[in-house]
Symmetry: D3
Subunit: 254 residues, 6 copies
């Protein structure tokens, strides 16, 4: 695919090929108190993901024998080029923050066997230490690792017999920059992309979330499909990195 | 298209065909003080959309010669089956509310020529009087009507020479219910759909927003495309209704 | 009475006689999910009133065998000449809002047989869609209709045997404009009245609330009594409209 | 009047006659930093009233050459029988608090010559140290004293030539207890009164505010008038005490 | 000690000697509803301290058989030279307020035998009526009196057998002004002190809290010790005043 | 000193000697966008400190030619043994948070030559990634490094000629555990210490802040002095680590 895409003399700010991810690393166990955690780095974006297990569920699930997985998201004030207000000081979370944490929670629930969990909850906290674009996608990808590790912790404590995950889930952003579809936008690209889309995909190829937005002119169906193809290419590498981080063999689904 | 879809003995709660919109009406001028307004009804969903014009722009745009269009969204406490908390009493807007109002604002800005507006703002308020599913989509569709009427009001006051809209924009939800893709979900369908997607499309066929979400199992690329096809079918009727409401001839773009 | 009042060549902005109400309509059942509801219109003022029934009472009443009736009030942002802040976005209800919702609740409780209700609550929501003065009074009048219909809904579900209302209650504003006492102020009059008073009266002629306020110079006892006389004249018509809306015969008390 | 009223063997909890005020004292200058202040005591109710002068007006008055008078009200947590939440800790003022501070502000503005003030503001703070009923009325009465003293302070600083007050203003509550109209309710009476009314009157006999409320059964026009008569009797004594506190001769208007 | 200190021609704004407290009075029973209360005056600083008893403890102590003592602090808007915002209107307590109320609570708990209290709570409210420096210290000193009186009230109701206080506790501020250590800073001194320290000491001489802060240049260990010596001198008088206020004989520990 | 202290068979949970710091590291430049930053680790406590420079000062300093240094503090939800509420979600910062950020700001200002800074501000954000006691002290120590690096960044941009710091500042906690004074408490010790004290000291030996608190029984003057001696011992090592992190030679003051 790279051949076709790089044809129109593309030059990305980072020098990457159109279908190249940024350098990626996932460091498990970064938070020492959490049942599961990792620090995920995608280029200049770093997100600390922690999973906290609690032996009870929210009111609307009580007595149904199912578990719950939810997420919160935050950005340290100076994760960005200029310092942002601390949301705790301002007294409310922004709409963007709430939108992102809802997305992370939905994505994880889509691959969790909540009946197999039993009545317990896992809260995933995704806190951005350094931001260079794609923080919500890195959060989803890292959150799955933290969740998997937390479930393994529960197994080691004999709270559960098997990891109640049906599949892996990971996310990546794609966009159209100067007319060319590219994978894994960094901040410089994100702020000038004509359209961008976040894809949350499963290890088996299913779509969990598609969020495409035209920042300027509307985009076409063909462009949407091209972006989806790039996303499949990128998430393949993310799935491999997740398996490495949690110690799963290279081939099996999560 | 209906032929193929209705093959598997589909029975929607409303008795509609898989590709049928609900009954639709747009009543312009419902709010007597607003520069533009309409009451849009899609089946049991009713949203009052008002457009308020102000001769100044937010700080980040000051001095740039461009206009601004933004939106707020609310739901009356008893628009739903059971009474919801009044957000003003609770002291904060929910994440869902903020997500929706950001979507409406982006959708309108995608078809607005903000340079042609000059330094003025329009705030669209979308307030749900009765809810039966699809309130965010009805809001986008009605908001365009209110915005168009507000611009026409500005023309009548000699504040602008032409309506600074590049196209029409409308939205519709689609989903997969019992394995069958259907158009324009009502509440009964929405709450049991396996996947649903909101499409914001322009009169000329462009995509402004695609928001697909798997509520249960992930969906496939083929299903996403089938939903998009239904959405194009549905928005064609929405565009016609918008033109009628603002008094544009049937064929030209907005 | 009209004779005496119109003597000093009165000219109201609306052309009405000093003792004339604005055109009045009450449309029952506007909100399709609420147990009781109506859309009340008094001239350019439109208020949607809904009654929501719940099978439990606030903590301070638990175990006492009595019911509770309370109210909330809101105004859509563009119900007025210039757009007002959305209270949910601002994060708190104004003092005016709270004052009005307390007034509505007290007025309804004054005619409700709370012992006969049993341990259940009704919350009345009054949301102003269009405002042209007198919104709190229209709210009280419409709220009674919504409450009556909700109790009738409970009867149809065999939750209660009879409507636990001791009387009708309705409200109207009066004021002194250019020295002349007039009935049912619209916004133009309200903003220049020297004094105004809101009267909440019962079908049998009792006073539930009297709120007289001098905006400029203090008013006299004689003026207060003249305003009360106008209010009795106006509420007689409101009581008739309420009975019509809930299907009660013209003469009996509510 | 007392003769007629005491006929039906009235026994008030305090042993007072039906038309008797509680013991009353006004101590000017209690707050040492404020431009004007007093501690007003009516029986067991004690309110500290301070007036703070500022050389500017709120935005809506800027450039109009008029002054502004406003009020805030608070109750110390243990001013009452059982400790109330501190509103600062709870993060919002109650509806009751806002209703009262609006009433105090309106009452003072009704007797203030705001054009004569020039562009300056006075904020009156009324803080209840001990509560035994009638705190809003004591606040109005004490607030006038604090305001008068603050204006005198401005005169002593050559900021103004004369006290810009057109009249005195004071308030008292009356109610119907066990069927008998009585003056100046204490807490024990207030909590069992069938109806009560707060009257804000001017030294010259005008009505500034009338707030009558039926707690139980509606009241009649005759009862309203009887309560007003008691209020006139009571405020005559309040006006005298105000004059004493600010050092005005006994007879002239404020 | 005074001899040595006054050597360098000290002149305090108040004319006091370096080791002199301001005039001090403690008026017990100021709040008529509270189980214990006092109005403490140290020079121009006046704080109303009330103790409210409740028969239950916060969640984290339930079932442990221990009591709880906590404190809240507030300042009336015009207790200071210029009017401060009402924290209730602003919707949140400042960091300073929270810091002070935590200090008061810790100080009281250090001398309370919480096991002997049994499962009950006392909330101390310290509200500053007039401020002239040292409000937090006056609050601690007055709070102990209110707490002692509240416990005595409980004894009179046969809720407890003895006052569960292990010792007295009082606080005073000291500081270095123009290079000279002085006792009990008033506002004029506090705002220009190079360093200041608040000491919370017990009747038996123990240290409960030491909070020393350099406002300008750092201070030395010798200076810290000199300030502590002054504080011991000052609190000896505070302990005597507390004993007087609660009716304890002059010598025994509280 | 260690000899005397270890006499009573001390056994700290960590096995450390009474006067031993935990393992310490300071990693400069952790945050890539901030003008200065470091990640400081003291045993299991990790705090990310960032310094953000802005070319303007708060209102109260405008036009005075001085700079400003302030701090904010936060703890990631799962920095601790059990997950804490996210303060942004709860809508307000706790009293503890505000107390700590005020302490950090004061400590830095005590060694900053604000006149030499000119009219600019530095905001230090201290965010705890992992908590094991002593987070406020680690924050002060790391904050000085971030501030120093930010000033050096300003020099490299020719905004300032020299680093406007008069001295180094660092903090350490000490406490009395089982009757023995120990240095640098970890969480296990902190939660059972009878008394603890935080000392903020300068490189030249001055005291900036002393905050001693008796958690149980009051402590004595001798104990306070012993804790101060331990703190001097510990901060000597902190000052050396700071110099290393910012590249200053080992001996000179900062």
């Amino acid at each position: 695919m790279a051949t076709a895409l790089s044809a129109p003399a593309l030059s990305r700010p980072s020098g990457r090929a159109a279908d190249a991810l940024r350098t990626l690393s996932i460091e498990p166990g970064f938070a020492r108190h959490a049942e599961g955690s990792c620090l995920i780095r995608m280029g200049g974006t770093e997100v600390l993901c922690t999973a906290s297990v609690e032996g009870r569920v929210p009111g609307f699930l009580r007595g149904k024998g199912e578990g719950w997985v939810t997420a919160e998201y935050g950005m340290l004030p100076r994760a960005t080029h200029t310092r942002g207000d601390r949301e705790a000081a301002r007294g409310r979370q922004s709409g963007r923050t709430q939108e992102i944490q809802r997305l992370i929670g939905r994505s994880l629930r889509a691959v969790t066997d909540r009946a197999a969990m039993g009545e317990m909850s896992v809260t995933i906290d995704c806190d951005v230490l350094n931001a260079d674009g794609g923080t919500r996608c890195a959060s989803v990808t890292g959150a799955w690792v933290a969740l998997h590790l937390a479930f393994r912790h529960c197994m080691s404590k004999n709270i559960m017999k098997a990891v109640p995950l049906l599949d892996q889930v990971a996310a990546v952003s794609c966009g159209i920059c100067d007319g060319v579809p590219v994978l894994d936008l960094d901040y410089a690209e994100d702020s000038k992309a004509g359209a961008d889309a976040n894809f949350v995909l499963t290890g088996k190829g299913g779509l969990v979330e598609v969020q495409g937005t035209a920042e300027g002119a509307p985009f076409s169906e063909a462009e949407l499909l091209e972006l989806l193809r790039l996303a499949r290419h990128g998430t393949a590498q993310l799935f491999a990195a997740q398996r490495l981080a949690v110690g799963l063999p290279a081939g099996e689904p999560g």
